[in-house]
């Protein structure tokens, strides 16, 4: 029942979000056809507006957009006039999604052991060092970490390519640059929850029953302590799958993150609306999935 309700709210939420994106990008000053070089005559801009139905009323344009979206056609890009938004998405989204998945794996693979380590060593020197590094990972932005990684690992050591997207080696640096922030974030979340859990009764009880094996103990504790990480992983995955402007720009990766930012700057109305719609659906779906996963992991949580 609860699940059904959640699914039913997905639709109006998506509509609301796209409507906002649709309106906001149109009210911002400047238009898609404002260029450094004016068209040869004012008529040309009029023709352009007519060609892309921008001369219609907003409600009509929005309905036109929705009608197209239902059929999988998000309309033509106003910037890239030989492409339509669906094509661009189909081309860029898989790349961003792949890089995002890699970064997700990297963040989890690094962040979880990192967090556990800090929790177990809480208050000791190791915790402080690891904690400082985690803080760095969270605070230093991608546009600093990225070039640093390139400088050291690609230029000085020559281990990886400096940019582009052509071979497995090309994915390594962007994965690290993109995932490091999330790894730091996860480790910090996990450190807190894990430290709490390690003092809970069931862990003490397990110890009392003679479970002396630290690894096994960890497994029990982790199952509970991981919950905040799980709820964070939904938005995090959505964030990662939809690409990062900074990283894609820096490594010249043909993903979709660059397009979202550029489409806003270009006032490419259909592109912005289409991208926001896809991102909204992704985010809402992943959040729903996370809530379901929550129930699986923690029996105390009930869907209602």
């Amino acid at each position: 029942m609860y699940f059904l309700k959640r699914i039913l709210t997905l639709l109006p939420l998506t509509l609301l979000i796209t409507l906002l994106a649709f309106v906001l990008v149109r009210v911002s000053p400047g238009g898609p056809f404002d260029k450094e070089r004016a068209p040869a005559s004012p008529e040309i801009e009029k023709q352009l507006r007519a060609k892309y139905h921008l001369d219609e009323s907003w409600p009509r344009q929005y309905l036109r957009f929705l009608g197209g979206a239902v059929r999988g056609d998000l309309g033509p890009s106003l910037k890239y006039r030989n492409h339509n938004v669906t094509d661009i998405l189909l081309q860029g989204l898989p790349v961003s999604a792949l890089l995002g998945t890699l970064a997700f794996g990297f963040a989890m693979g690094l962040g979880i052991p990192w967090g556990v380590f800090m929790a177990v060593r809480r208050g000791e020197g190791g915790d402080h060092t690891a904690g400082f590094l985690a803080l760095l990972a969270v605070c230093v932005p991608g546009f600093v970490i990225g070039p640093l990684l390139v400088m050291v690992l690609a230029i000085k050591l020559d281990w990886f390519p400096v940019a582009l997207w052509a071979s497995p080696w090309h994915a390594v640096l962007p994965t690290m640059a993109l995932g490091l922030f999330y790894a730091g974030k996860i480790s910090r979340l996990l450190r807190e929850s894990m430290s709490g859990v390690l003092h809970l009764e069931f862990v003490t009880a397990a110890r009392a029953r003679g479970v002396g094996n630290p690894a096994l103990l960890m497994k029990h504790a982790l199952r509970v302590a991981i919950l905040p990480v799980v709820s964070y992983s939904g938005p995090m995955l959505a964030d990662l799958l939809t690409g990062s402007f900074v990283i894609e720009n820096l490594f010249q990766i043909p993903g979709i993150g660059v397009f979202l930012v550029n489409s806003l700057q270009n006032r490419d109305y259909p592109m912005t609306a289409g991208l926001v719609m896809v991102f909204a659906v992704l985010l809402l779906t992943l959040n729903l999935l996370v809530d379901l996963l929550y129930v699986k992991l923690d029996r105390r949580v009930k869907l209602e």
Binding site: K35, I44, P76, V162, N213, Q265
Partner: protein, 538 residues
Amino acid sequence: MKDDHKPMRWLRFILHTSALILLAACSGSGPRADLVILNGAEPESLDPGIVTGQPDIRASGALFEGLTRYDAKTGEPIPGLAERWDISENRKTYTFHLRSNAVWSTGEPITARDFVYSWLRVLAPELAAEYSGQLFFIKNAEEFNTGKLTNAALVGVHALDDRTLRVELHSPIPFFLSLCAFSTLAVVPQSHIEKHGDRWLSVQPIPCSGAYELVEWRLNDRIRVRKNPRYWDAANTRNSVVDLLPVSSPNTALNLFLKGEADIVWDKTLVPVELLDALRQRPDFHSFDYIGTYFIRFNLTKEPFKDVRVRQALALAVDKRRLVERITRGGERVAESFTPPGTAGYAPPAGLGYDPARARRLLAEAGYPGGKGFRRFDYLMNSAAGGGAKIDEKIGVELQAMWKQELGLDVELRTQEWKVYLASQRQLDYDTCRSSWIGDYNDANTFLDMFMSNNGNNRTGWKSERYDELVRRANQQPDPRERERIFQSAEMLLLREETVVAPIYFYAGFFAFDTNRIEGIWPNIIDQHPINAIGRKK
């Protein structure tokens, strides 16, 4: 036993990850191209009829050719798909003779009718081509484009037979052959376009008229072109596969170049300004002059800028040399005129120069001695895109200081995002503003006609019948000396008498390639470098 579980899980994770990475590998395809060029921003289109940006024009130019093409060394127009032409005595009628071996990459012959179709397509209101103005020197072209005339047969371009094209101009302009090499006038495949509409560049095989055919165009990834074996001059195409990469970050471009992943960087926005001093010392970095001007627009519809003495004072107080030496540092020349020197058949007259004492006098005469009583005004500029070099902002700060120091004026720097900035310019919502203009063809007209009263690029609110008349007369003048003289008076009016704009510097083009490995690329004033002439040294 149980201890093994965790390592196993990690191992599985690593395997999965590697598999995914391998998957990523599949998305990149093929071996390295013969030539990898960092081409600047992602082209908005490759359709020669609608392209406007330089990266677009360069990529599109590899695929589609016109009646003439650019000489790789000089940038002058030389025979392209037309092998020769006759020009009438009054220089208003051109008869082009197409080559007998001019064929599309798919094998069909390229005919004069294809040119008629291509040009009328650009002029057709439905295409809404922003550069249709390039054809406005043709009889009735403007009328047809703006819908005042609907009969296409009245436009001055006709196919006399398969291989003869007659073009009638309304003015004896000296640069028409140069225009014929420009993308807008290139020939495009009629039946393919009519069949596939706006997406004709995504449906293979695309009939191409240029030295290359399109292999793939993945947005933000690359444009790969392959030698067109049916091109009439294919024997002289010096490479077989070329990648044009869209790169927007200067640091990334530099890294790719220095690591040998790219052979040529030819977009000036791709040079990290912070490193210019060091880069200019390198033998593989080359700077050259081309026709582009960085200047200040004044808004003549607002007080106190309605007073010409105020505009002159502001222009005279700018120490251009300081800006070029301290900020741009890329070999730019101080702009004494609006039209750059080197423009064909034209010696630009000197503008106002740098004279702070005279500036103060003029300001005092206008009623603002020492800047007293002058309202605070703004200097509008666009924000640097993508974290690029903030040259505009640095120049803004310098101007602010110069105007304060020399004239006692308070300037507010107003930075706006690109599209907002353009809208403000268009709506005359500024006092003074940063501007730039790159010539489309090598002639003074590309710089001077923009300030005619009804030109959309004027954007100063200045309307002068005298100026309009001068530019019109110049373009009707068949004698080159006399034409030059008229244009000079127009430019004097623009710069000295009315001071509508204040030129600051002329752009320097910049490209990077290793002269020991790459040849066939020369600096030229219109910054055009045909790709088929570029090759590796043997």
